[in-house]
């Protein structure tokens, strides 16, 4: 058995097969079980070392050679595979409740497989091409058959496509910088190219306009899936650059650039989220803020601490977005749009979905007892150690998020006084939302439960890590 075949080849195969399955429930089950199985295998079977189960010896080799280059998944990547496929399983199981399983499972599984390929490919620089392929698969996901492609989807395509050339070319220039480190002009050009590439990929301020646009034209569930998957892997890809190039890692300019772009995203996204009147757009701005948090986390010193904060927020982000997106999709099936005017008072008929929206939003804002609290607290502590001014601006961004959450709550519960209470969600929706919300509380109250998964992640970055 071969690790790239197992975690890239099999999901791609299942994705292709699921395109021909017309049944929503079967699709969701197939996608969810495939992702869950891959996650469990990554959890229990080590890569590249023999595992004895009775008389059977099982070994998953790490590399696969294609066209003279390697796809390699090592033991250090195991925890990331567990998290990626574990959260993907949650998304796929929830896709039936959201009514998008026939779209999400084939394309989503393909996207996850390509994102895993981007982690596995050597040299790591080629990851940009796999991320671009994943983005291309995102287009049919965002624009289902019979729906006009919106401006958001087009901009998404443009931004993700423009990112790839910048990053590939920057990678080539960085090799030149390594051989002549004193060449300031070359260093500046390479860093600018790299920065532009990542700015497009991560939708860094002001290149995030496609996110709120998508929120108005696409299903919140598929949008949430992309908002989770692409930035998560892009951050890992970015960490690869920091790990590989010493001069980049130790550059003071990089740290201040990360701080500036991160805080701009947090403050701008937070303030926009506070004043939106559309629940989908609010989620999009919160996704912008979450990416801002991750970028800010990268600037924390020492680097081992930065890695800890980045990885600590991975699971809460995935879980929070899944709950939020599912809840919005359930509401959208009942109302015309997610504008405040349309969702006013739906808490009386969809209390669980509304709870999901509000709790996921509060979690993203770092509200105590919820999953987002531990990573926000760690980030805040790390930033305050470097700069109190940054910590203050972080507070402004978080206050924006909290204001948005309170405004949403106020509108969602604003029903006529004697409206009857009811449970409009189906049983599947109730179970999925219940599990998700419970997860948000468990991660908030007992963050140490994910510690075994997170402690091995820094091993992926031998220079940047501990």
């Amino acid at each position: 058995m071969n690790a790239p075949l197992l975690w890239i080849g099999i999901p791609l195969l299942v994705a292709a097969l699921s395109l021909f399955i017309p049944n929503e429930r079967f699709n969701a089950g197939l996608g969810g079980l495939t992702a869950l199985s891959l996650s469990v295998v990554a959890l229990f079977i080590p890569i590249d070392s023999a595992l004895l189960i009775g008389p059977i010896s099982l070994k998953i080799s790490a590399s696969l050679q294609i066209f003279g280059r390697n796809l390699t998944l090592t033991t250090a990547d195991g925890s990331l595979l567990v998290i990626l496929y574990g959260i993907a399983a949650l998304w796929f199981f929830g896709s039936e409740a959201a009514g998008v399983a026939r779209r999400l499972v084939p394309y989503g599984l393909g996207i996850i497989a390509l994102l895993v390929a981007s982690i596995a490919v050597e040299p790591f620089l080629y990851a940009a091409i796999f991320i671009e392929m994943a983005a291309l698969l995102g287009i049919p996901l965002l624009t289902p058959a019979g729906q006009m492609p919106g401006r958001g989807a087009l901009r998404f395509l443009v931004h993700q496509t423009l990112a790839m050339p910048f990053i590939l070319f920057a990678g080539w220039m960085l090799a030149g910088v390594e051989s002549s480190p004193g060449d300031f002009a070359l260093t500046l050009q390479a860093a600018t190219m790299l920065g532009l590439g990542f700015a497009f990929l991560l939708a860094v301020f002001p290149l995030y306009s496609w996110m709120p646009m998508l929120a108005e034209e696409s299903s919140p569930y598929v949008m949430g899936f992309l908002f989770w998957g692409l930035p998560t892997i892009t951050i890992i890809f970015g960490l690869g650059f920091l790990d590989r190039y010493t001069w980049l890692r130790t550059s003071a300019a990089l740290s201040s650039t990360l701080q500036l772009s991160g805080i701009l995203m947090v403050v701008a996204g937070g303030l926009w989220a506070a004043f939106q009147r559309h629940l989908g757009r609010i989620m999009a701005y919160v996704a912008v803020v979450e990416t801002g948090f991750a970028i800010l986390a990268l600037s924390i010193q020492p680097p081992a601490r930065a890695l800890e904060v980045v990885f600590l927020s991975m699971i809460p982000r995935g879980l929070g977005l899944a709950v939020w997106a599912l809840a919005l999709t359930i509401l959208l099936r009942r109302v015309d749009s997610l504008r405040f005017g349309s969702v006013k008072g739906v808490a009386r008929t969809y209390p669980l979905a509304v709870s999901g929206v509000v709790l996921a939003h509060l979690s993203a804002a770092g509200f105590p007892l919820l999953a987002g609290f531990p990573p926000r607290l760690t980030l805040w502590e790390g930033l305050a150690g470097n700069s109190l001014l940054l910590a203050f601006w972080l507070l402004i961004g978080i206050l924006g998020l909290l204001t948005g959450a309170l405004r949403s709550l106020a509108v969602l519960v604003m029903a006529p006084e004697y409206s009857p209470w009811g449970l409009g969600e189906t049983w599947v929706q109730r179970i999925m939302l219940g599990v998700g919300v419970l997860g948000l509380f468990i991660l908030g109250l007992f963050p140490q439960v994910v510690r075994p998964l997170l402690e091995n992640l820094p091993l992926m970055f031998i220079h940047f890590g501990p």
Binding site: F67, G146, M148, L157, V158, P165
Partner: protein, 203 residues
Amino acid sequence: MTSTIFSWLAVGILLLAVPTLTVVRDWRWMLGLLAAIYLAVFLLVLQHWPLAMSVVKLVTGWMGTAALGMTLLNRSLDEDGRRSFFVEGSPFRLFGAGMVILLVVSATPRIEAVIPGIGQSVLVGGLALVGVGLFHLGMTSDVLRVVIVLLIILAGFEILYAAVETSILVAALLSAVTLGLALTGSYLILQSNPEVEEEEGLL
């Protein structure tokens, strides 16, 4: 010597085809020009890559063009013979494209100093595609044009990248991206409402 002649011939094709592509309205002309651009890309990539690998660029590009063409053929557009051959604001577009090309030509010697050995013709061709593509991208929201422009920018990048990277895997992956982008474009065109799609961008 022959190789140099061919490379400058390719640059000539590009400098004619790319600005023209920004102003023609008919999709048949646009796709014809795109096919010509891929021929020029092939000739420029041939400066650094062996023939067998360079041909991949040509074949992939033409396959992508064919995919777009077949989609547009099947869409059976309601043609309006009275509409002009050029889009509105053509003089401005040509002027803008001309300025970008001038900028590229004047900047080429300096860029060549950064990337030695790449060749002036390759630099002019690649940068002209990327530059005019980016300029045009800022002026249109039409699905077909956006996809064609993205293909052009990618082709420009591939010309430049071929000079510095000869990996077979990269060639294969970039071809897959080109084809994927064309297929994505075909899908988006199929989803588009013909009436809306014929509306031209911002000008």
